[in-house]
């Protein structure tokens, strides 16, 4: 029997074309529309947001209203209360604004994501109907600002293992004590999701999650901490001293799909998967903007009688930036197409995407500063800000080291 094992090119190309990684028409429209908003609303205020005292919440509210983002979130939320599906939100609708905002102020993405996604999401997952009604709508429309408090001075990557904040049962309620740090929106939050160890926790339930309101006796929200970058996101510390809360503030533990066993830890881990994909979106925004600014500068900056783009060492930098841009864009498009097809990317893949994208953003933004030379080192230059901002992508949502270990462990276990 003769086996024809030549490649069937017609089939090959058909498959390739079907899965080709490009932006859809709608995605391009979304990008254009949000870019226009960002260039009109964020770009002119970048100086105040990054080097002044302008909090980002007003811009976030205007964005939410202008594009009907809050309305969609409320519709979905109300539908979910009735057990109905609600209007669909594609992954692109979530990730594209992150790309576009990150071209100017990545901090706004952090601030908005923590308030509308992490904080509201935690209450939606673990809240009773009453608790959801009480806190979620205002968070979704950004009428109120939310914080999600897990990190402590001595617990970062090992968020649960080293956690010291506690909830001590007291009558019907609990008494909360502890210190949280690096809390996004911490100085301004109206609604805080607070994760802590249960003082008399059992094997089934060692941790508990509470919802706190600004102004609770014993709760102190610090002024913004000074940090290396991401200044448009205000970060603070929370201090809880004998904060008395009723059972109405305790969220139910997340339910595992199989069996009745419950775990707040698995709920937080699920949140990490989406969070890691969003880092790739932020990285892409930073890379795109650094590349655009660098190409423009290489064309117009004249030294030794010629534009610096004529020098091969500058050309190498630009070419490497473009390679990074394409790679990160492809990873992001792969994620989007998987989600569109109903496939949830594994934590390993999300980790690999995050690891690569964060490192690429760091490398590209450092090289952008180098292309700009002395000008790039000046605080008034946008690439200087983006370079400081890029560093956090290697740290939050799981450090590079955590991503590496996640990926390697799964590979060694035979999983991907």
């Amino acid at each position: 029997m003769i086996v024809d094992n030549r490649i069937d090119f017609e089939t090959y190309w058909r498959v390739e074309v079907r899965t080709v990684l490009t932006w859809t028409d709608e995605e391009q429209e979304l990008r254009k529309a949000v870019r226009r908003f960002v260039e009109a609303e964020v770009a002119p205020r970048r100086e105040e947001l990054e080097h002044g005292d302008l909090a980002p919440y007003g811009i976030m509210r205007r964005y939410s209203e202008a594009f009907g983002v809050g309305d969609i979130a409320i519709e979905r939320f109300e539908s979910s209360l009735r057990g109905e599906p609600g209007p669909a939100v594609t992954a692109a609708q979530t990730l594209i604004p992150m790309i576009e905002f990150s071209r100017y102020c990545p901090g706004i993405v952090t601030s908005m994501g923590v308030s509308t996604s992490l904080t509201a999401g935690a209450i939606i997952k673990g809240g009773s109907a009453e608790q959801k009604e009480r806190w979620v709508p205002d968070l979704l429309t950004i009428a109120k600002v939310g914080s999600w408090a897990i990190t402590e001075p001595d617990s970062g990557s090992d968020a649960f293992g080293s956690m010291r904040a506690t909830a001590r049962p007291d009558g019907d309620g609990y008494v909360l004590n502890g210190a949280k740090t690096f809390i996004t929106n911490g100085p301004d939050a109206d609604t805080i999701v607070f994760i802590c160890r249960l003082a008399d926790g059992t094997e089934e339930r060692r941790y508990a999650t509470f919802v706190l309101d600004r102004g609770l006796p014993g709760l102190v929200q610090s002024a913004p901490l000074r940090k290396m970058g991401l200044h448009s996101s205000r970060t603070g510390e929370l201090s809880l001293t004998d904060v008395v809360v009723g059972p109405d503030r305790l969220l139910a533990p997340a339910k595992k799909k199989s069996g009745p066993a419950t775990s707040d830890r698995s709920s937080a881990m699920a949140t990490f998967v989406k969070e890691r994909a969003s880092i790739a979106a932020m990285a892409l925004g930073i890379i795109e903007r650094c590349l655009e600014l660098s190409v423009d500068y290489a064309r117009t900056r004249v030294q030794f009688g010629r534009s610096i783009g004529d020098f091969q060492l500058i050309q190498l930098k630009l070419a490497q930036m473009e390679v990074a841009r394409l790679n990160v864009e492809n990873l992001l498009l792969r994620y989007l197409r998987q989600v569109d097809a109903g496939v949830r990317p594994s934590l390993t893949e999300a980790s690999a995407t995050k690891l690569y994208a964060a490192q690429a953003a760091m490398q590209v933004s450092l090289e952008a500063v180098q292309v700009f030379g002395g000008n790039g080192y000046m605080a008034e230059n946008h690439v200087e800000q983006l370079c400081r901002d890029a560093k956090v992508l290697q740290i939050y949502a799981g450090t590079d080291e955590i991503q590496v270990s996640q990926i390697a462990k799964d590979l060694l276990r035979g999983r991907r």
């Binding site: 429209e29 979304l30 594009f67 009907g68 609708q93």
Partner: protein, 261 residues
């Protein structure tokens, strides 16, 4: 209210605008194209009137296949449906021909109100509103900074922008109204709007579908022709006056030479 709003795809405001070397028409291929910025005010006003009085907003454009992007933008802002007149034979049509073609399409829609911008940023003729009103046999209100529609009374009134204030002008419906940028703040297309735009009804017509004679449109039959064009001369570098103790005198002499003092 059955509202028609005209839109046009033009080269991006910031793009270097060029004429095609071969036929001296606007080069729409080598640049990014966007909805004429002033048309966004027209679309916004149409949507506001619809929101206040009910009805339907139909977007009408004439332009190459790519102009569908501009239609989609208007649909994503909230317009209900669109008509796209597109045909290679229409290429190079002048304002007279374009107005005849658009009027033919608009007449089939029987609008209560036709909204246009004051001008498009590519050719900047500023005549389309008047030409359409003439061809449709409708009254035209121009330079509107505010539009008030009273469907029950069958009239539309506007605040017409003037050099030293505004004039109140009204017309019976149906009418053609031209709006200025001061009239509103165009909305961003909502995420829902963007996702829904592709599903909204879009009628694509060739010149034949629209009942236009082949000879009545296009470059060959155009009444006006661009014969030649020259780019604007680059700005001359200024005169540098070096102050050697007599800077003030030199500046005064310069201003006097320009007859400014």
């Amino acid at each position: 209210m059955n509202i028609v709003v005209t839109v046009k795809q033009v080269p991006d405001t910031w793009a270097e605008k060029k004429l095609d070397a071969a036929d001296k028409t606007v080069d729409r291929v080598s640049v990014d194209n966007v909805m004429n910025e002033m048309d966004e005010y027209g679309v916004e006003e149409a949507l506001k009137i619809k929101e206040a009085h009910g009805g339907e907003v139909t977007v009408v454009t004439m332009g190459p296949a790519k102009a569908v992007e501009t239609i989609r933008k208007a649909l994503s802002m909230g317009a209900d449906k669109a008509v796209h007149l597109t045909d290679d034979a229409l290429h190079g049509s002048d304002a007279l021909q374009t107005s005849a073609a658009l009027a033919k399409v608009i007449a089939t829609l029987s609008p209560d109100l036709v909204i246009t911008a004051t001008e498009a940023s590519d050719a900047r003729g500023g005549v389309m509103g008047a030409l359409l009103a003439e061809r449709l046999g409708l009254p035209q209100l121009t330079q509107a900074r505010k539009v008030t529609v009273d469907p029950a009374a069958g009239k539309v009134s506007i605040e017409r922008l003037a050099d030293n204030g505004y004039a109140l002008v009204e017309a019976s419906l149906p009418a053609v109204v031209g709006v200025v940028e001061k009239i509103n703040q165009p909305r961003y297309p909502s995420f829902k709007g963007i996702m829904a735009a592709k599903k909204k009804p879009l009628t694509t017509l060739s010149s034949g579908d629209a009942g236009l004679d082949a000879g009545s449109v296009g470059l060959a039959g155009a009444g006006s022709t661009v014969v030649d064009s020259q780019p604007a001369p680059p700005r001359q570098s200024g005169t540098i006056v070096k102050d050697e103790g007599d800077g003030g005198v030199k500046i005064a002499d310069f201003l006097a030479a320009q007859k400014l003092i």
